[in-house]
């Protein structure tokens, strides 16, 4: 496979847009096509405004037949196409291509079928994540993955990014909760990946498609699994004198055979950042706060909470508080869920990172990030999906000050490379997009990147779907000066591993 060129660079010069538009207009009504800069400006970036590009065209198809027509025309005229959901992505995955079109699936926003007996919902890709749970609530069911942006983000975008949330450890990410995706390929063919019946024959293309960042096809229908809402849920909020001890508490909880519904850690800086914003009564003197949620039957929850509290106390928690009501549970969570808006209040700009590390290295990683704060002259607060090792450092900066954007990006890149060195990954749930494409050169060998290109070619032989994202070219890796560094031996060979 390494003999072939990477397909991820769109080749072939500027497409003939006039002929392309003639073809598209046969099937797509004028009100679904945006052309002028005044109309397309809103599509120049997603939730990561550091990366912008004005698209030539934006399509807003209203049905699957129009999606097919647009993609066939793109294929026939070699027009690059960038799919877009709600535009809340955090890695620039929906940044347009300068010579291409954006296809927004926002209008495919109907819940097509909700089957409370089989516990499934079939929804259009433009349906908002939270809207699924809202529709299912009447039946005592919900859709488990809950990214913080769930009031706005769409299920199509969740599929593209394999979105997670704060309940992943127990209930999984998007990849664990989607049963079937109906996909339009760049050739305008419709394929069904997965099924409501278990173990669809053939290769596991469904799970390879989930998290493929709009580079393999466009989803026009998604079947999700709904689960019964637990009868009760309560949160323990604990203060610790160090992040290491909070991490140790997590280790003890999991060693005891408990899989909490949620397990979130905030460092002192994050706690002090959000408290004035949410008034959750957080302990401002704690070095770390751990939120641990139990759900199930009331009795089950009560038993688990007792065990969790005992384990936290043993490790050295200085203050423990258990939510006494649903209102209080939501208050405890409010700070964690509002970490990003709170950052926006105390700093003109912030940059959210998304590395994952083996949890046992948490103390070392936060220590190194603290050193980097001094090195880059910027503050960084940390929120951490402690159960699954997913770290979200928030770098605070001011884009109006010369050089700060570049410095924030360099700081972020240094954090990601630290995650790789620790045996982790550059992205846990936000995706690579355009943002982390240089770090892909550090995490993967050329042959591994070629294998990604091979998957890409199998779905999109012309390299037209979301080009230039995720898979860096050889030239890009050479220019970035990154050679793959960590393969062949374990990082930190002196660390005990059992």
């Amino acid at each position: 496979m390494d003999a072939l060129p990477a397909v991820n660079e769109h080749r072939g010069g500027t497409p003939d847009l006039a002929a392309f538009m003639d073809q598209v207009r046969r099937d797509v009504p004028a009100h679904c096509i945006l052309t002028g800069a005044d109309q397309t400006r809103a599509y120049e970036c997603d939730g990561l405004p550091l990366y912008r590009e004005l698209p030539r065209l934006v399509f807003l198809p209203e049905n699957e037949a129009q999606v097919v027509a647009v993609l066939k025309a793109c294929r026939d005229h070699r027009v690059p196409v960038v799919p877009r959901g709600a535009g809340t992505g955090l890695s620039g995955g929906a940044m347009p291509h300068a010579e291409g079109a954006v296809v927004s699936l926002a209008k495919l926003n109907r819940i097509l079928r909700l089957d409370p007996r089989r516990c499934t919902a079939v929804v259009g890709p433009g349906v908002r994540n939270l809207a699924i749970s809202e529709a299912a609530a009447a039946y005592g069911l919900y859709y488990a993955p809950d990214p913080s942006s769930q009031i706005a983000c769409s299920i199509g975008g969740n599929v593209a990014e394999n979105a997670g949330g704060v309940h992943c450890l127990k209930y999984g990410q998007t990849v664990h909760n989607v049963l079937r995706v109906r996909v339009v390929t760049i050739d305008g063919e419709i394929v069904e990946l997965g099924s409501e019946a278990p173990d669809a024959p053939g290769l596991n293309l469904l799970q390879a498609f989930i998290g493929s960042e709009g580079m393999l096809g466009l989803a026009t229908e998604v079947t999700v699994r709904l689960i019964p809402r637990p009868r009760s849920a309560r949160v323990v909020m604990a203060s610790f004198p160090s992040v290491e001890l909070a991490g140790e508490a997590v280790t003890r909880i999991i060693a005891d055979g408990i899989i909490p519904a949620g397990l979130e850690l905030m460092d002192r800086r994050a706690v002090n950042m959000v408290e004035p914003f949410v008034h959750a009564d957080y302990d401002l003197d704690a070095e770390a706060i751990l939120l641990c949620e139990s759900d199930g039957t009331p009795e089950e929850v009560a038993e688990e909470i007792v065990r969790v509290e005992a384990l936290m106390r043993e490790v050295g928690a200085t203050r423990l508080q258990v939510s006494a009501s649903e209102e209080e549970r939501l208050k405890f969570w409010a700070g964690r869920k509002n970490a990003f808006p709170a950052a926006g209040r105390i700093s003109p700009d912030f940059y959210c990172m998304d590395g994952t590390i083996p949890r046992r290295h948490l103390g070392a990683v936060l220590g190194e990030i603290a050193d980097m704060e001094r090195q880059f002259g910027m503050r960084c607060s940390n929120v951490f999906h402690a159960g699954d090792g997913n770290l979200h450092p928030l770098i605070l900066y001011d884009a109006n000050r010369p050089g700060e954007v570049e410095r924030a990006e360099a700081f972020g890149a240094a954090i990601l490379e630290l995650c790789i060195r620790m045996g982790g990954t550059i992205t846990g749930e936000h995706g690579v997009g355009i943002e982390k494409i240089n770090q892909m050169c550090a995490q993967f060998t050329r042959e591994e990147l070629d294998a990604f290109s091979a998957v890409k070619r199998a779905f999109d032989p012309h390299g037209l779907l979301n080009p230039l994202k995720v898979i860096p070219t050889l030239a890009r890796c050479a220019e970035h000066g990154k050679m793959h560094v960590h393969r062949g031996e374990m990082p930190f060979p002196d660390l005990p591993r059992f």
Binding site: G140, P198, P201, G423, E448, A451
Partner: protein
């Protein structure tokens, strides 16, 4: 490179040079599964059983990494020593079972209805590619979206894209408590009951419905797993007669390992259906997974069975084909556009088609 890996690479290079394909094997216990093997003198074995050993186990991070040839029993014993397990409860076909074979075939056991399939637990892997190079995808962390999810693509791939060398898998704590109830119900009532429990917070971790040997309507066995109070609440919601612990253990082990009498039928069909599908009324021996997995006896008219199952939204796999000619495909045919993607993937990963040619579909 490790000497065993160098040997594998040499074998791959030789296969490509001579055009003589390879069939990957671990302990050989799962070779019955998939399309029939080519004639014995037409291929060479790529034997992974010597590439063995647990590389890393971190109980408190719920992850284990082991080489493909590691005996499955060794892994499960190690996990049990720390109160953990493989949540998808893979079948064991014998002491020669390997971890690689388990992941490459992708078969899950009774607990799949609660835990999700094997592929849900795959976190990372190393693949030997057609150039004899070792590629690493995913890793040992729960959340990882860097690049496409090639590790999960390889789970259950029957070696079609190349041999797995090493797999990292998410492990789970053993439930604190388990109990099995038995209810006398005919198939239709049993399926309706299972569907009813599905939408409720009852911790059902396995179900099995079978015809009653005494000729009555049938018997549904239900396993509940969780903490003590959740299991107790579940039992009172479900009712029926509780099976003694030792008998329950043996019963679910027999189903997991497919040593129960229901698995003796030949040919044996493995049919999967969406939740809530009605009885097939056609040689059903055993329903698992709340009715989403059905084991069928005897149906020799494969085309008729497949058409019927497809109309219900499911799939029919000719699981044990003894007596059925090789021309009858093992798996349901793929739609043309989907088959084309499969063929392109095969050409990209294995341009000379040396790995497990035809083991999934004759076309690749």
């Amino acid at each position: 490179m490790d000497a065993t890996l160098s040997n594998f690479s040499e074998q791959v290079a030789r296969a490509r040079a001579t055009g003589r394909p390879l069939v990957v094997r671990g302990g050989g216990t799962r070779l019955f599964y998939g399309s029939p093997l080519p004639p014995e003198d037409s291929f060479d074995w790529l034997d992974m059983s010597g590439y063995s050993g647990v590389v890393h186990y971190e109980p408190t991070e719920l992850v284990l990494t082991a080489r493909a040839g590691t005996p499955l029993a060794e892994i499960e014993t190690l996990l049990a020593s720390r109160g953990q397990m493989l949540a998808f409860e893979p079948p064991r076909f014998g002491p020669a079972d390997t971890f690689g074979g388990c992941v490459a075939t992708g078969l899950s056991g009774p607990r799949r209805m609660a835990s999700g399939p094997l592929s849900d637990f795959v976190l990372g892997c190393r693949l030997l590619n057609a150039d004899g190079k070792v590629l690493h995808f995913g890793g040992e962390v729960m959340k990882n979206v860097a690049g496409y999810d090639v590790s999960r693509l390889l789970a259950g791939s029957l070696g079609a894209l190349g041999p797995l060398l090493e797999i990292s898998i998410k492990v789970a704590p053993r439930p604190r408590c388990e109990a099995t109830c038995m209810l006398d119900l005919d198939e239709q009532s049993a399926l309706a009951a299972c569907l009813d429990w599905r939408a409720k917070p009852i911790p059902v971790s396995a179900t099995a419905w079978m015809t009653d040997p005494n000729g009555a309507g049938g018997r549904l066995s239900v396993r509940l797993s969780g903490n003590e109070s959740a299991v107790r609440d579940g039992m009172s919601a479900i009712g029926g007669e509780r099976l003694a612990e030792a008998d329950a253990g043996a019963f679910w082990r027999n189903l997991r390992d497919q040593t129960h009498d229901a698995f003796r039928a030949r040919p044996l069909w493995r049919v999967t259906l969406p939740a809530g599908a009605p009885p097939l009324a056609q040689g059903t021996l055993l329903d698992e997974w709340g009715g989403s997995l059905r084991w069928l006896d005897g149906a020799t008219d494969a085309a008729a069975l497949r058409a019927r199952v497809r109309a219900m939204g499911g799939f029919a796999c000719l699981y044990r084909r003894d007596g059925i000619p090789d021309e009858v495909p093992t798996f349901d045919p793929l739609a043309p556009a989907l088959l084309e993607i499969h063929q392109r993937l095969k050409r990209e990963f294995d341009p000379d088609a040396i790995f497990n040619r035809g083991r999934t579909y004759p076309e690749f």
